[in-house]
């Protein structure tokens, strides 16, 4: 028998009992539909996350000092650090061949009493160093309203929220535009009684976004200025020497270099996180999620396989005489087995095709529904959450066929074993 003969005979047998074939197929269809929908969700979400992470640059490594446990809470002193991010460490990193850039960070103390002064007007404002990394997921930069964003590392620049300016009476686009390039000041008032103004130039104004990307501070400044503010606030001109930087961002030349840097700095006692590590963690949890979701479909397929086996056993009873005839005209037990297994596999494949198409359509529908829901909730998220890839289609079809094949093995063996004389006598 050629493959064509087998396919033709199986199809012809299946088309003889259309209703029963469809009913046996339903189980596989539901199983594969579930499997494809679930797995395509896994693939889609993972792809979205991976893309977001890749935008951030997987080579980026973030280093923080490890602090000792503080025994008492103090507004004016931070917990002692076990290891320091010294300027020497920054230089060491910059000197390495496998490092493209190393940028130290200094936070403005959250306890500091800071006001923004524009002309004669002054308002309390929260200030920090630039807290977002361009393109990094989950730390999206706020929308630019006027001027430009800060150039990291450039001293004397300030980036101000339009809300804060409005509180000072500078409302409307024209007023905001007029302020770009003007000198303003951050005024610190220490509990010890001193007051100090730090003059800065407005380079840009941003719209604060209090949605999922916010909240932002009222103003952002660059590292040299945040260091100056912190040193003055703690009244410690040599604070860098005593405490080091608050963080260091290193961009490695390659992913492998990043992994090595992470290992080396962890050995030296720093707390190191990299986008790669986060991505690995997310990937790991996605595999768990996919396995769980896949199991649901798997269970449905197990039940479906019992249905197929039942259909094929029924077919033996119906076709006993026919099997006898086939044996009499020269079919070997192997031929009979092949025909039955092919028929069961075909039921699986048919279910697989319908299930895959159904799962794909369901994914498209659900994707639209989710996006519509997010839009209605005013959550600015876009993307494709259900992705049916080529390998997923191939996997689903192959899996469905194998399920059918396995379900057909026992009935096929029984059919092949039938005694031709008995079978021919069967009515």
């Amino acid at each position: 028998m050629t493959l064509k003969d087998i396919a033709k005979t199986s199809l012809s047998n299946l088309s003889r009992h259309k209703v029963r074939t469809v009913l046996s197929t339903v189980g596989v269809t539901v199983g594969i539909l579930t499997l494809v929908t679930m797995l395509s969700l896994g693939v889609g979400v993972q792809r979205e996350i991976t893309q977001a992470f890749q935008g951030a640059g997987l080579e980026t490594v973030r280093i923080r000092p490890v602090t000792e446990e503080s025994t008492s809470f103090s507004l004016y002193a931070e917990p002692k650090r076990k290891v320091l991010i010294t300027p020497e460490l920054v230089e060491e990193m910059r000197a390495r061949d496998d490092v493209v850039a190393a940028n130290p960070h200094m936070d403005v103390p959250w306890s500091a009493n800071v006001s923004l002064q524009v002309g004669d007007e002054m308002v309390q404002a929260s200030v920090d160093e630039v807290s977002w990394i361009p393109n990094e997921p989950f730390s999206q930069a706020p929308d630019l309203a006027a001027g430009r964003e800060l150039i990291p590392g450039a001293p004397g620049e300030i980036y101000v929220s339009s809300d804060t300016l409005a509180a000072l009476g500078h409302e409307g686009q024209a007023a905001i535009d007029a302020l770009v390039g003007q000198e303003v000041a951050l005024v610190l008032k220490a509990p010890r009684g001193d007051t100090q103004a730090f003059p800065l130039r407005v380079v840009g104004v941003f719209h604060p976004n209090y949605g999922i990307d916010g909240p932002y501070f009222d103003a952002h400044i660059n590292m040299p200025d945040s260091l100056a503010l912190k040193a003055w606030w703690y009244n410690d001109p040599d604070i860098l020497e005593h405490e080091g930087y608050d963080a260091l961002t290193v961009k490695a030349a390659s992913l492998n270099d990043a992994v090595q840097i992470v290992e080396q700095l962890e050995e030296r006692g720093f707390q190191v996180t990299s986008v790669k590590m986060m991505l690995d963690m997310v990937n790991k949890s996605m595999v768990v999620l996919q396995t769980m979701l896949g199991s649901v479909g798997g269970l449905a397929l197990f039940v479906a396989s019992i249905g197929i086996a039942n259909t094929m056993v029924m077919a033996i009873y119906e076709r006993t005489k026919e099997i006898g005839v086939l044996k009499a005209v020269g079919a070997s037990p192997g031929d009979i087995r092949l025909l039955f297994v092919a028929e069961a596999s075909l039921i699986g494949l048919l279910g697989g095709i319908i299930g895959t198409v159904g799962g794909w359509l369901l994914g498209l529908g659900l994707n639209e529904a989710i996006l519509a829901y997010l839009e209605w909730k005013e959550i600015p998220v876009t993307g494709t959450f259900f992705v049916v890839t080529g390998w997923l289609v191939a996997l689903a079809m192959a899996f469905a066929t194998v399920i059918g094949l396995l379900a057909g093995l026992y009935p096929a063996a029984r059919a092949a074993r039938l005694d031709p004389v008995e079978a021919l006598r069967h009515e």
Partner: protein, 224 residues
């Protein structure tokens, strides 16, 4: 004499629970090439059992069956399958055509298991169907054919593999007398035209009269 079938001392015992039924009790039978033999006897005499043993559908409890030099009684399943494929053609009382296949597909069916390409096997089936008078009904399904026509398709199916031997079990049993005679005429013609060796099982003396020779069975033994 060119011997096609030689059966020696055939016995066949069936187990029925605790008891045994001896369907055959030592049957000797020889068929020369081109011979047309009728195997007659009352119901339960063991006619069909002999046919099944010669056809390789069953194995004897003891005795030997030689077909064209091959001994079947101790052969494995593979040899029996090859024997059915290459050396015998079956014609049944109830035709046993596959209802979803057309006349030509039914007639070509045995060649599918021999691996003959579809085009060639259909062409051979058409030639034979034309020979048995069904040239105009090639694409009809069994339900669209009369009983006589169905048996003609079955005869074409039995001949399509060019077997040395055709075994017919009550081929006219489901046909009216006139049609039965037509079918026997056809078998006789094929026997004479192609030198086909024919073993026909029947309980009808009129049908048996078409044969060159008659072998009578009674209670599992050949009556002399």
């Amino acid at each position: 004499m060119d011997i096609v079938v030689r059966a020696v001392g055939l016995t066949r015992r069936y187990e029925m629970g605790d008891t045994f039924v001896d369907a055959l009790r030592g049957v000797d039978l020889t068929l020369a090439r081109g011979e047309f033999v009728a195997l007659v006897g009352p119901s339960g005499s063991g006619k069909s059992t002999v046919l099944n043993l010669i056809g390789g559908l069953d194995r004897p409890t003891s005795g030997e069956v030689w077909i064209d030099g091959t001994e079947l009684s101790k052969s494995d399943e593979r040899t029996l399958t090859r024997h059915r494929r290459q050396h015998v053609g079956f014609v049944f009382q109830s035709f046993n055509l596959l209802p979803r296949l057309t006349a030509e597909e039914n007639a070509a069916l045995p060649l599918m298991f021999s691996g003959v390409p579809e085009k060639e096997r259909l062409s051979r089936a058409r030639t034979l169907l034309t020979r048995v008078g069904l040239g105009a009904r090639l694409t009809h399904r069994p339900t669209q054919l009369s009983s006589g026509e169905q048996q003609r398709v079955a005869i074409a199916r039995a001949l399509v593999g060019q077997p040395a031997l055709v075994l017919a079990d009550e081929p006219t049993g489901n046909l009216d007398t006139a049609t039965g005679v037509e079918i026997m005429d056809l078998l006789k013609e094929l026997n004479q035209e192609h030198g086909l060796t024919l073993l026909v099982v029947t309980h009808d003396p009129e049908i048996a009269a078409f044969a060159d020779r008659m072998v009578r069975l009674r209670d599992g033994q050949v009556e002399s």
